[in-house]
């Protein structure tokens, strides 16, 4: 749930609120690539996908444009899209969780139909699609992150409290033979979007990297230019592959300020600003898409490995992208605070309630309701 509640507009319909995006070579089949979009964090048992939303996976072949301190990607002009849409459940039959059907429109024009919550999903033309409620794979201690921002001191406890423990999300999982379905590669950039359906779809939210909008962008108090600007709806409305120059500096300044704050948490500067006054990670992070090398074998921990290798001028050793079980908060905080030049930062939460498995649909089954007054 690294992107949950990432902007006031996303709150108006929770089924359009993307919480996480994952992209990884299938652990159970080296020829296949898997992309995952999670929405509706902390969803109760009755949660369903919206019939007014297009759940879109955008995938572009990408090249490494530069390495070293100016490391950057060059996404291709070509792009393939998987669009998933859902019907209105017609009859709940008294069940808390109604039966919902959906369809995934493949890049080749074919359609995969599926029933939500069916663990086998729908299959057509070698593409397997699952949609339904699953256990939240993300884990973090939000209170201690907020305390860190307020106090200016790393506030994680040795044993933290997982804010998302026992909660559920709605997930869409697509597994496909990337050589057959995609052109180019093997490096691909992945972005997920929710769009309002209709004649002219309007982007509601988009997510690529974890914790860009929330941990990296949401805090306003360090931003000396736009201290009162809720930046995330603006950011959500942008095309991840084509940020408009109009607001680019707004995002750049906000990220520079917040990244500098995190860098200072250990009392030393690990990320000296460049000659243009930018934090060395700002440009890479604003290329807000997951980059995965589909030709490499699955790895448990691989997020940002391609970017880090690019900066260090060496070949990457893992597929990059992002696997479901990765401890993203430890990684992000270690990256931001000391750049790997110091001891790993541990947020005190090292696992979700249930690990994802290495078999389709990967994410663990949903947790039982906590029970309550409703």
């Amino acid at each position: 749930m690294s992107d949950h509640f990432s902007g006031p507009r996303a709150l108006t319909d929770p089924a359009a609120d993307i919480s996480d995006v994952f992209a990884f070579p299938a652990p159970d089949d080296a020829q296949q690539l898997v992309v995952v979009m999670d929405v509706f964090g902390k969803s109760g048992p009755s949660a369903v996908f919206s019939d007014a939303v297009i759940y879109r996976f955008r995938i572009k072949p990408v090249e490494i444009a530069a390495t070293g301190p100016e490391a950057s990607f060059a996404p291709s002009e070509s792009e393939i899209v998987f669009d998933c849409v859902f019907d209105v459940p017609r009859d709940t039959g008294g069940a808390v969780r109604p039966v919902q059907h959906g369809r995934c429109l493949l890049p080749n024009g074919r359609t995969v139909s599926f029933r939500a919550d069916d663990e086998n999903g729908g299959v057509d033309d070698g593409v397997q699609v699952f949609a339904g409620q699953r256990s939240e794979p993300f884990f973090l201690d939000v209170r201690m992150i907020e305390k860190t921002a307020v106090t200016g001191k790393l506030s994680f406890k040795p044993k933290g409290s997982d804010t998302l423990y026992g909660t559920n999300i709605l997930a869409i999982v697509i597994k496909f033979d990337w050589r057959k379905m995609l052109k180019g590669g093997p490096l691909f950039a992945v972005v997920c979007e929710t769009l309002s359906a209709g004649k002219r779809p309007v982007r509601i939210e988009r997510v690529g990297r974890p914790e860009i909008k929330n941990v990296s962008m949401s805090f306003k108090m360090f931003d000396q230019v736009n201290r009162d600007l809720e930046i995330r709806d603006l950011y959500n409305s942008e095309d991840a592959f084509d940020l408009k120059p109009d607001y680019f500096d707004t995002y750049r300044v906000r990220l520079n300020a917040n990244l500098a704050f995190y860098d200072g948490l250990d009392g030393k500067v690990d990320w000296a600003f460049d000659g243009h006054g930018n934090h060395p990670l700002t440009k890479l992070l604003l290329a807000d898409f997951l980059v995965v090398d589909a030709s490499m074998p699955f790895a448990e921990t691989s997020y940002f490995d391609i970017e880090r290798s690019m900066r260090e001028g060496r070949p990457h050793a893992t597929p990059g992208g992002r696997w479901l079980n990765e401890d993203i908060m430890d990684f992000v905080f270690t990256l931001y605070v000391n750049g790997g030049n110091g001891p790993p930062v541990n947020d005190g939460v090292d696992a979700p309630i249930a690990w994802s498995s290495k078999a389709f649909p990967y994410l663990a089954p949903p947790n039982p309701p906590k029970g309550g007054a409703t």
Partner: protein, 358 residues
């Protein structure tokens, strides 16, 4: 500061909204509420309070409002040094028309966070509900730039509707539809309901029906819209349709308004035995509710006792109480009606059946 009365509404494009189906939206509202049970932060509790109030508005469930109020009160143990709990409690107190106490909470919130736009919007809504329209406009003006276009248009539509300026309210309503960018059907349905009530009070029943039907198309389970549409249908000479809408609501809801409407329509149709059953049920429930939430149900209780409840004196008492809580044109009208009905020789409007024993 924005001059609200000068704001120009543009030509609307109202036919192109893409909204989540109302049944899905309701399932997901339930899922949000369930997901926040066992909350462990005040922010989550505040969200839960808002969601419960929203579900209360849509399903007409008083128990949701009560749960929200309990939750708001419960937050004070831990974080009474922060403005947010006061704002949340003010919201729940306003729901129950405890306006003076709600404003006290907002005064405290103001002292802790003088620039909190949410608190100011809450204050403006309360001032509006009290009939203090000029103060409400002034308060809204100070924070209007901090809200989205839809929220702004909806707030102004509601304000002018409450003030009885129907054309101006209609312009802002259309403006709201034109600039709505969300996919949740709830904000739009709530706005359409508000407009429907405005037309109903203005005796333009055709327009009222259109608005209520629109709200129901967005959210079929929208109980108050169904209830008001039934009322309009009955007044337009279609009591059978009204009854079909009201029966399931009267059976399932903890709000006696639907039973009261059923009693009235059945009485007007001459089905006095069945009317009495519903009248009795509504009377008991109004007595319960006015004992625990006196201000909140004063207006509806007054209408009931002046109408099918057939106890004009009790109606006058609640109409008077209602005017004390809020000096709106509608509250004045209700009191005037109560005084008329209580005049010697006057016939109670829409009364049916014998007086109920108190």
């Amino acid at each position: 500061m924005t001059n609200l009365s000068e704001t120009v509404a543009l030509e609307p494009e109202v036919g192109s909204l893409t909204l989540t189906d109302g049944s899905i939206a309701l399932l997901n509202l339930q899922a949000q509420i369930d997901g926040l049970e066992g909350h462990d932060t005040f922010e989550q509790a505040a969200t839960l309070i808002d969601l419960l109030i929203l579900r209360g508005q849509i399903l007409g469930r008083i128990s949701d409002y009560e749960q929200a109020a309990q939750l708001a009160n419960h937050q004070f143990g831990a974080s009474a040094t922060d403005a947010a709990p006061y704002i949340a409690r003010a919201r729940t107190r306003a729901v129950f028309h405890r306006f003076a106490e709600a404003l006290d909470d907002l005064d405290r919130a103001d002292r802790m966070a003088p620039h909190d736009a949410v608190a100011k919007r809450e204050r403006a809504a309360i001032l509006q509900a009290q009939g203090r329209f000029d103060e409400a406009i002034s308060t809204y003006s100070a924070v209007m730039d901090s809200v989205g276009q839809f929220e702004r248009a909806a707030a102004l539509a509601g304000l002018w509707a409450e003030r009885g300026e129907v054309d101006r309210a209609q312009r802002f309503y259309l403006d709201g539809l034109r600039c709505y960018r969300g996919i949740s059907p709830f904000p739009v349905a709530l706005l359409e309901f508000q407009l429907g009530v405005m037309w109903m009070r203005d005796a333009r029943l055709g327009e009222a029906r259109t608005c209520f039907e629109a709200a129901i198309r967005r959210v079929p389970a929208y109980a108050p819209a169904q209830g008001h549409l039934a009322e309009v249908e009955a007044d337009l000479g279609n009591p059978e349709s009204a009854l079909a809408r009201l029966y399931p609501l009267a059976v399932s809801s903890d709000d006696p308004d639907y039973a009261a409407q059923l009693a009235r329509i059945l009485g007007e149709m001459g089905w006095n035995d069945e009317s009495s059953v519903w009248r009795r049920w509504a009377a008991d429930r109004y007595d319960e509710l006015t004992a625990t939430h006196r201000e909140a149900f004063a207006d509806h209780a007054a209408e009931f006792w002046l109408g099918p409840g057939n106890d004009p004196k009790k109606g006058l008492r609640f109409a008077t109480l209602n005017l004390e809580a809020r000096k709106t044109p509608r509250a004045r009208g209700l009191l005037a009606q109560a005084l008329d009905v209580n005049m010697v020789g006057a016939t109670p409007a829409r009364c049916s059946g014998a007086a109920l024993p108190n």
